[in-house]
């Protein structure tokens, strides 16, 4: 058998970078193949004139402080990254403009968070206590599930972690109702839903709480040199550990042997063979490169049953005045017409988020300037209806104009006259750079039957391809920045234990 490497990692997104870092740290011979000429996938930035724009990251949850690091910060430190983070003191400001609207800012840190919600929903005291208890229980249950490698004893779960099971098997909205929150409190608490891409009446409550817990405890963590700094710092780790990174190297085919085991990959000019392959590339695309007959019928059905997660339109603005001078005070503002996430998802311009990085990291753009980053979730193909290659430029311009106008009206600021640089990304951009099917930024939709709990309980039984391990936002733990790094670490750990035989139980 030919082995050029111990492990081939395909794709240098967050998952692939974390995996390759971990694998090389364990002394394995690793090659990381990336089709783009930069590491990071969406965790990137780009330069226009005197501005460098963050391409995708709003903030990382579960970062914590230098003194009291939480999981994400620890993960980077463990991998040898020296990148630092700024902690933003507020979670978000949420503005609902329609009937019974509100304008509320929630603070980070449990006590501040609690106070800021009580200020606008004083009736929430007891409900908040119950929420706190549930979050703690969730942590315990998760630790148990992890100990059992995703195959928990169902009876133990029922008896010991009943509260957790409730949040694991119900929608966010149902669980918040069961905790006794008022309508308004629920809507405010559900604000982050779009970061997971499924409306609150369908979104798995446990998944949401996992994220929100990380934001409340750690505050919103913003990397000092943008997400691209994180990406380069991991690339640095890989190189230092003796790994090879090949950019501009697109994998075109996965090589299977007669036992349907993945033994390597092909690029335009080369073949690479290894004992194990880790794919940061979404299963859909891997299957598309696997040839007929190599993947199991049930896995094909799984993929055909799935829906793609949402995509985004992003507007990046470089403004020739400072945030202060323009009257921009919030790092993160969620703007919606209607409080209900379901309605938000169903309406054009139903909701969008605007970040001003200078509020958290003043030196992120040159002095006397600032930048704004609009994130507009694209839930359906309706948004792109009628868009052709020829009118694409106009579509981007018109869309940006509409959102900028709305933002100015809602916030009462003038930015239009100060646009020095503008760039607009759409699902086409995601499709272009990452080959993401349907331009999805979030892998597979985490709806109902394919929610994160269902996936976690099914790991081990699905996409079980010999020699191939997946990592990335399309995995069991769902999309999300922090999570995608974690999936890379987990994939690497599984491979390491198989290759070094440290954990016999895990051998295939």
């Amino acid at each position: 058998m030919r082995y050029d490497y111990d492990v081939i990692v395909v794709g240098a997104g967050n998952g692939g970078l974390a995996a390759a870092s971990k694998l090389t740290a364990a002394g394995l011979r690793v090659v990381l193949l990336e089709k783009h000429n930069l590491p990071g996938g969406v965790a990137s930035s780009f330069v226009r004139g005197r501005f460098e724009f963050e391409a995708s990251l709003h903030e990382l949850c579960d970062v914590g402080t230098k003194e009291e690091p939480l999981s994400v910060r620890r993960l980077f430190t463990d991998l040898g990254s020296k990148e630092d983070f700024i902690n933003e003191k507020n979670l978000f400001r949420t503005i609902v403009t329609g009937e019974n609207g509100y304008d509320v800012t929630l603070a980070a840190g449990w006590d501040n968070f609690r106070q800021s919600l009580l200020k606008v929903c004083p009736e929430s005291e007891k409900s908040l206590d119950r929420l706190g208890a549930l979050l703690d229980k969730t942590t315990e249950a998760l630790a148990y599930n992890d100990r059992k490698k995703g195959r928990p004893n169902k009876l133990v779960m029922l008896l010991k972690y009943g509260k957790f099971l409730i949040s694991a098997s119900h929608s966010l909205d149902d669980v918040l109702r069961s905790l006794g929150f008022s309508y308004r409190a629920r809507m405010i608490l559900e604000t982050y839903w779009s970061y997971l891409g499924v409306p609150a009446d369908e979104l798995n409550a446990f998944h949401y709480f996992e994220m929100v817990r990380g934001y409340i405890n750690g505050g919103a963590g913003i990397p000092l040199h943008k997400s691209y700094g994180l990406s380069l710092s991991l690339a640095e780790t890989i190189i230092k550990n003796g790994g090879d990174i090949r950019y501009n190297t697109e994998v075109t085919r996965f090589i299977y042997d007669e036992n349907k085991r993945v033994t390597g990959v092909c690029t335009k000019d080369d073949e690479y063979y290894a004992k194990e392959v880790i794919s940061n590339v979404i299963p859909h695309n891997v299957f598309g490169m696997s040839g007929k007959g190599n993947v199991a019928e049930k896995d094909k059905k799984l993929l055909n049953a799935r829906r793609f997660g949402l995509s985004f339109i992003c507007i990046y603005l470089g403004l020739d005045k400072s945030a202060d001078a323009l009257g921009i005070k919030d790092y993160s503002v969620f703007i919606a017409q209607n409080a209900s996430s379901r309605r938000q998802a169903e309406t054009e311009m139903g909701m969008y988020v605007v970040n001003c990085i200078n509020v958290a990291v003043p030196e992120a753009t040159p002095e006397g300037t600032c930048s704004l980053f609009f994130t507009i979730p694209v839930f359906t193909n309706k948004t792109m209806k009628g868009v052709t290659a020829d009118n694409y430029k106009k579509f981007k311009s018109d869309t940006a104009a509409a959102y900028i106008e709305n933002y100015e009206k809602v916030l009462g600021v003038n930015i239009r006259e100060h646009i020095e640089e503008i760039s607009v990304a759409t699902p086409v951009t995601f499709a272009n750079y990452f080959g993401a099917p349907n331009g999805t930024a979030y892998g597979y939709e985490l709806s109902g039957w394919d929610g994160v709990m269902a996936r976690i309980l099914s790991t081990g039984n699905e996409l079980n391809i010999k020699g191939l391990t997946f990592c990335g936002g399309h995995g069991a733990k769902g999309d999300g920045y922090g999570v995608s790094y974690v999936t890379g670490i987990e994939a690497a750990e599984a491979v390491i234990s198989r290759l070094t035989g440290k954990n016999d139980e895990e051998k295939q």
């Binding site: 780009f46 330069v47 169902k154 099971l165 380069l232 299957f287 055909n304 430029k393 311009s397 349907n438």
Partner: protein, 400 residues
Amino acid sequence: MKKSSEKTEKLKLNAAKFLKIIPERLKKIKDASSEEIKALRSYKPNLLAAELHPQIQHTTVAEIKKLTDDVTLYTLKADGGRLAPFGAGSYISVFAEHNGVSFSRPYSIASSPGASADGVYEIAVKRKDDGFFSKLIHDSFAVGTKVDVSAPAGDFTYEPLRDAKRVICIAGGSGITPFRSMILSILDGTEDFELTLLYGAKRESEILFKDELTAAAEKDGCVKVVFVLSDEEKDGAEHGFIGAELIKKYAPEGVYSVFVCGPQAMYRYLEGELPKLGIAGKYIRKEVFGQISDPCGEPDYVKPEKEEFELTVRQGAGEKHIKCAYNETLLSAMERSGIAAPSRCRSGVCGFCHSKLVSGECYTPGRCDGRREADKLYGYIHPCSAFPLSDMIIDVPYKN
């Protein structure tokens, strides 16, 4: 699907629902189709991405027209189908082979975006006697020559949200090309803004597209054309250089944008002139400079003691040792030695040539340093705009 209820009464939940998660999932999967996974192009965003950003476009030279003594217009026609659409002002990388090695240079698309639907791009190439690629084109392109070009790229396009509705376009020499495309796109209704062209040349005989530009101005009220001749006086043309005074003479009332595209000498001259206009910096946009031929003119450059350095280029598993003169870019040195290195804008801004500096030192002029902050921190360089200051080892990706 149930809507979020407005009710506030507490809801009773049932932990046993947990047991239904897996059966429900298995049923969903069982009921799904088992057909092969659909090709990427079946999704609209992916199809649009392929149409807008093809990796490479194959064309054939369909027509050649001499515009002046040293400038030639090449009409490139797609080998079947259309060419990628673009915003007027974009450029393409044009590829050509020399001694079996593939080279490329950026050229603004001089034709209208609309013509791309018919599979046509036009480029106007000025032959430089001390040049390399422009001569290669002039000497080797004939009707029927196969030419590969990249997808359109660049940011020198009109953007209504950013730019003023009225734009003064300052062109020098072959820098007219992006503006010709903009004028054509105003004529055919793709773009909607008022364009006043101040086009500088030494003498009338060097003006490209003279009749065509004059006719465009007569046809469309949104287009004005002023020729500015430095070395001769002619009726109907301004005499001298394009500076603040002349710009003000033709500038409209109120806000306006200034777009500049021309030779480096023109940029240098305008650097002193444009501030005199008193307009906000955001209203001044310059096409990228192109390759800087010599770092010695840069204000913060300190010439190294040695004139030639050892450059070790790692690419994939291979390694090559070449020479690089102090006044040539790392990219040029690699190309001269037959190393296929990625490039596109060759002006430091697009990041296409992004490479890792393993050891050694180099100089990048500030005005063409388009690197990200983290690039500088972790030792990444753009070889198209970096000059050696010592022996160096660099890690360069393969050409895609």
